[in-house]
Amino acid sequence: MNNNYHKILGLRELTSSTFVLEIERRDMKFEPGQHILLGRAGDIHHREYSIYSGVEDKALEVLVKEVEDGEVSKTLKHLKPGDEVEVQGPLGFFTLEDEFLQTGNRFLFIASGTGISPFHSMVRSFPNLNYKVVHGIRHASDAYEKSDYASIRYVACTSRDDQGDFNGRLTSFLQQNEVEPDTHCFLCGNFEMIRDAMNVLEEKGIPQDHLHAEVYF
């Protein structure tokens, strides 16, 4: 048996193109914010996915957006409980270092689309975290499992409908709202969002060593 093979436990459809894959965790230890390399067992194609679940959760979960012509996401969508996937990892350094986790530190998590995955893991893993999530999505229905965040800590910025907490791009939300200069800002998503949001935050006086980013690809 391949040591990296894990069984699928289930699949939660969140939207027509986005789902959470629940994977047998076995003894995998990880830090919130890390990712895994994932593919169907025996397949030659693998992709990086941030871990969505918390460190205490029984299953290992990833949030997957089905990509048109995607070599991995389409395959994952069709997996059934009992099927096997290959998991390598955990990998990556987009984590909350111990020094950040000291009492009183505030965190701003800025995500576009499925870039919210590492922050979901952080919030589930550290219940006492003083955080706010700013989530850039097209439609309010893309606010994946937003009940997992305290309602005052989650802002859905919707660019294609007016059903979100803020109607417009997340960069506009950032421009219109105060960010305390000592906030640790973590950004995850597509590069254009990260670039624009970092520019806004720098203009607001957030020091560079308080900006942490991971581009989604």
Binding site: A41, I44, E48, F191, D209, F217
Partner: protein, 482 residues
């Protein structure tokens, strides 16, 4: 029986090729530079650019045509993406990751080459071996597709598996005075422009005892320039989670050995990642004579946004801290780097930041690459939106900046006497050339081939952008060091 290997790619591939050659030599094959004379034809592939893989395809087409006239076995190994491997399985006779090299004799044997002497006397000299005989082979018998393989044989998904056995093979060193020692394989960093994490798999560190044994053997045999190799050479040991020494500790052990050995040698390493470049590593380099005062520290871009886009996991400020530590603790060190120009979305302002970084860090050498999407890498799924002419323009702009600082440094060497490891004849007739400890090229008038592979002292009298020139002075530098 003769073999011919087409070697593509980086120093790691060259080092891997030295081990492939050793295995084939021990089987009784003889190397030939003429591919048309060979019975065994192999490629050590590189997936860094599509061009490299295109070369593999064109080569195998030619070789397969030759199969109508003679018995041939073809193989491909090295850095191969899973999708290319699928295709190669249909065209090459043998396709294997480098970690399976120890099984190459079995693969060849099963394929139809019978060389009992070669198979059974791996440790004996070539002179004692019989020449292998090529049997007529069954064309279809050994064409095994990926789908037919049992799951645990699908090694390409785990090119790191078995790498420890691969490291046990003593290489056929390509030089009598310069050598590479692989200490780590694979990459966990996932820079968006790079395919290595998909071709070589996860980071695996070689046992430190083996590394030190290979180093001692090389130094005892007169090797004078030794380079530790790894895709992320300074993340050495991290994968072992406390069960292996750190890179700094490894360097310290080599430094201590250097002090005791009474042999002069220079120890280099490449390529480090800024994220894992600790102050301790720099401190250790500053403390031991044998640890060369030359640092190759890839920056890739001088712009923080580009570094995020490249998923480099460091900022310019963090890089600046490392360079300032190097300048403080090892002021004599030369500094080399790698830069990618024209990466997806790079603006004029961002390339200007890279120019400023070159000006600030005053590199002696920068390997500047014009960006081209690398198949399999994440960025290959993005639009390559900087036109070729613009990339070229930016490349020249950065090169001009580099040349200023390199030339300034070299001019300051005029009048100084430096130790030089002589590497061979220079392009300039009647001259030999070599490298200083800091890898500055030095040429001097001499036809004395006995100096090749030796340390000499050269008094420099002139400087060019990337080289210097001088006269050899009498006292040889190949004296024991404390």
């Amino acid at each position: 029986m003769k073999y011919h290997i087409v070697q593509l790619g980086c120093q790691m591939n060259i080092s891997d090729g030295e081990r492939v050659q050793k295995v084939l030599d021990q089987l009784g094959f003889e190397v030939t530079d003429r591919e048309e004379d060979a019975n065994l034809l192999g490629v050590i592939a590189c997936s860094v650019r599509q061009k490299g893989i295109d070369k593999v395809y064109s080569r195998i087409q030619k070789w397969n045509k030759w199969k109508n006239k003679k018995n041939l076995i073809t193989f491909v190994t090295g850095c191969v993406l899973p999708a290319d491997r699928e295709k190669f399985l249909k065209t090459f006779d043998l396709v294997f990751p480098m970690s399976e090299l120890p099984s190459l004799p079995d693969m060849i044997y099963q394929y139809g080459v019978v060389s009992p002497a070669g198979m059974q006397t791996l440790d004996k000299g070539l002179a004692e071996m019989e020449k292998p005989v090529l049997k007529t082979r069954n064309e279809a018998a050994f064409r095994v597709s990926e789908a037919q393989l049992p799951v645990d044989k699908k090694q390409i998904l785990h090119p790191e598996r078995g790498i420890e056995e691969f490291w046990h093979i003593t290489p056929k060193y390509g030089s009598g005075f310069e050598a590479y020692i692989p200490i780590q394989n694979g990459c966990n960093k996932f820079c968006t422009y790079c395919a290595v994490p998909y071709t070589r798999g996860r980071e695996v560190s070689r046992p430190s005892g083996e590394i030190l044994n290979e180093l001692h053997h090389l130094v005892e045999n007169g090797y004078k320039s030794i380079t530790l190799l790894g895709q992320n050479v300074n993340s050495y040991g991290l994968d072992k989670k406390g069960d292996e020494i750190s890179f700094a500790q490894l360097l310290r052990m080599i430094g201590e050995y250097g002090n005791k050995s009474q042999k002069k040698f220079w120890l280099y390493f490449t390529s480090p990642h800024p994220r894992d470049m600790s102050d301790e590593v720099i401190e250790v380099i500053s403390q031991y004579d044998c640890l060369a005062k030359q640092i190759h520290l890839p920056i890739q871009s001088g712009d923080d946004e580009m570094l995020v886009h490249m998923n480099r996991k460091h900022t310019v400020e963090q890089y600046r801290h490392i360079v300032s530590t190097i300048r403080r603790l090892i002021p004599q060190a030369t500094l080399f780097t790698d830069i990618i120009v024209g990466f997806t979305g790079e603006t004029d302002a961002q390339v200007e930041n890279t120019r400023k970084a070159i000006a600030e860090f005053k590199y002696n050498m920068a390997y500047i690459a014009q960006y081209s999407p690398r198949p399999g890498a994440a960025s290959s799924r993005w639009v390559d939106d900087i036109p070729k002419d613009e990339k070229k323009k930016r490349y020249h702009m950065l090169t001009d900046e580099l040349m200023k600082h390199s030339f300034e440094y070299n001019k300051r060497l005029i009048g100084k006497t430096v130790d030089v490891l002589v590497r061979g004849h220079d392009r300039k007739a009647g001259f030999l050339s070599g490298l200083t400890e800091g890898k500055i090229i030095v040429r001097f008038p001499s036809d004395d081939e006995s100096l090749i592979g030796e340390f000499v002292k050269v008094k420099l009298h002139s400087a060019a952008t990337f080289s210097t020139e001088g006269e050899k002075v009498n006292a040889q530098a190949s004296i024991p060091v404390n």
